[in-house]
Symmetry: C2
Subunit: 343 residues, 2 copies
DNA sequence: TTGTAAGCGTTATCAC
DNA sequence: GTGATAACGCTTACAA
């Protein structure tokens, strides 16, 4: 049943030509006459020839493959990133090796090594919550493999090429909007502050409050994660303490989901009893009731810029120097955080 | 800046040994004495050696890679499939090449060819809505590359290895449940019937209705897609015709989302005015209001079985014969489809 | 215990 | 226009 794959050599033998001729013909090399090229191609088709990409890559010392490292797959944000990175790769005739760190720095390191070993031409990565040892990344660069960080980036970032959203500015914009609406009792359910997205969103919150001379209630500034259970638990904690704010700024959309669920369970209503806004824009937010307002971070833009930099870097090689790009966010107002409801 | 990658040869020269010795030592081959092995490893570390996987694979004629072809990435179902396939691959020391057909049969074919060319050891695929030419799949099998279809499978399937959910049975279960509740005016917003999931869910609906002697209103049996806009449009169509049923069985969760949105927009309420149930269980369904009941299809089970079959097939090679496995669904009752609300 | 030779399938280089 | 040779980096079989 199993047929050995047909190789250049097989075709060469059949036609009494050399493998080189076949190889060239199949790649439309001008060396070979149109006539023989045509002949060769037809025989290749007939035999069902498929090039062995591993052999080709070995010879070319280039894989036409880009590696992607993300913390999670089944997640609206990373799902979108993966999809658009993939699209761009595909359009440029690159394959993509997908790799998931599951928020483990150790796995992340291992993946990076594997990607190097697979001789990917470039790497796009969103680091884990716990990544602190940056030497792995230096190592990648030393190998001459372009790497760009997307959304979650190492700090300090000056030696690396990064694209991210203006996390601080986005958070600031949202809080300022809320303040203008009349909100004063504002909480922040934040992620981990050892990673840029957690830290910057928190400081956007802080700065906006301070700039408007609103005192920050420390018991309303929580830290602890990016998932829905964290949102749920945090809300319940405040609820049980009878210490609810008027508005919660959730560090991510899943955290907001957890809040929705908790609010529902205790019989309160959004936005009348308590209001919510979050960082991150998932399509389903439109379908929640009320539809959830948020700070949108364009995954398409992020991916596009990241890939552009990778490609540019691949071409330039030596003379490419690290750069950090930050893109703007957009405040998307839906059903929540539209007006202040308390007296 | 760019350093040439260090090879076995480099280590060999440095130690005045042969590449073979190095190769063996690094793989802990018993041939080599513990002492030299240790020495070699330390030098390898020091030099920052990374094996060239392409070379290794070329030599081994095996890539330790599995290829995955899905119609979409940023989609709760495929996202979950990708994630669990990836996990299993990773646990077994396989890499994964991810490939997306975007519902285009042409792209699908191209991807399959690329995966063959990349010498993947196995392929897992969920076919597009429009796939009708099965010869590509035969070709893959002829090449001796194990391929298993997951969820969306070709028909007839008897020559292929497939895993899917009991689509017909799941739909039947849901409709029967609704009928027992007292529902009679039931609509089905169905997908395309040229693909098994669309066809089978529809026939589950039909069979349940027929078995319970409930007449099917043809204007309530729609066909047209798997996305939210289709759900939205279909609802609006019936609404404008003043031809609403009491319950809509949506072929997928996104279709149900579209219905939620439309219902909200026209000011009706779920489940009091109109009720909904759907095929497919996304985590967010818990966070909708009301939480959406559904027929759950276990992505973990699907992936696990698919991968088991791939691995088994990889080992057995010649003597492996196609099989079709169908796994059970589970009715998950949340806020919708729990009781009949009309008079 | 270590090394030699050959091969995996392709491509670049340089002759013919 | 076509082909021989060497090389890409690794592994297996077989000697030494």
């Amino acid at each position: 049943m199993r047929e050995r794959a047909v190789t250049l050599n097989d075709i060469a033998k059949k036609l009494n030509l050399s493998t080189v001729t076949i190889s060239k013909a199949l790649r439309n090399h001008p060396d070979i006459s149109p006539k023989t090229t045509k002949l060769i191609k037809s025989v290749a088709d007939e035999l069902g020839y498929t090039p062995n990409i591993m052999a080709r890559n070995l010879s070319a010392r280039k894989s036409n493959t880009i590696g992607l490292v993300v913390p999670k797959i089944a997640h609206f944000f990373f799902g979108a990133i993966i999809e658009s990175v993939y699209d761009i790769a595909f359009q440029n005739n690159y394959e993509m090796i997908l790799t998931v760190s599951q928020e483990s720095a150790e796995r992340e390191k291992k993946h990076l090594q594997t990607l190097l070993a697979m001789k990917v031409d470039g790497i796009i990565i969103s680091i884990t919550q716990e990544t602190s040892d940056l030497s792995v990344f230096d190592m990648v660069e030393r190998r001459g493999v372009p790497i760009v960080f997307i959304d979650r980036v190492p700090e300090p970032a000056n030696n690396f090429t990064t694209v991210k959203v203006d996390d601080r500015g986005g958070a600031y914009k949202a809080i300022e909007h809320a303040i203008n609406l009349g909100y004063r009792k504002i909480a922040h359910f934040g992620g981990y502050t050892n990673i840029n997205i957690g830290k910057d969103r928190l400081s956007g919150f802080r700065d906006a409050m301070n700039d408007h001379n609103i005192e920050i209630n420390p018991s309303w500034v929580l830290e602890g994660g990016f998932g829905d259970n964290y949102g749920y638990d945090s809300f319940m904690k405040l609820y049980n303490e009878k210490n609810l704010p008027d508005l919660i700024f959730a560090v991510t959309y899943p955290v907001a989901l957890g809040i929705y669920q908790a609010v529902n369970e205790v019989g309160l209503r959004i936005p009348e009893d308590i209001d919510v806004i979050c960082f991150g824009n998932a399509k389903v937010q439109n379908f929640l009731s009320p539809p959830l307002s948020c700070i949108d971070q364009s995954t398409d833009q992020l991916s596009k810029i990241a890939m552009d930099m990778i490609f540019e870097n691949i071409e330039k090689k030596e003379e490419y120097s690290p750069r950090q790009v930050v893109i703007d966010t957009e405040l998307v107002l839906r059903g929540t955080c539209r007006k202040f409801n308390k007296e």
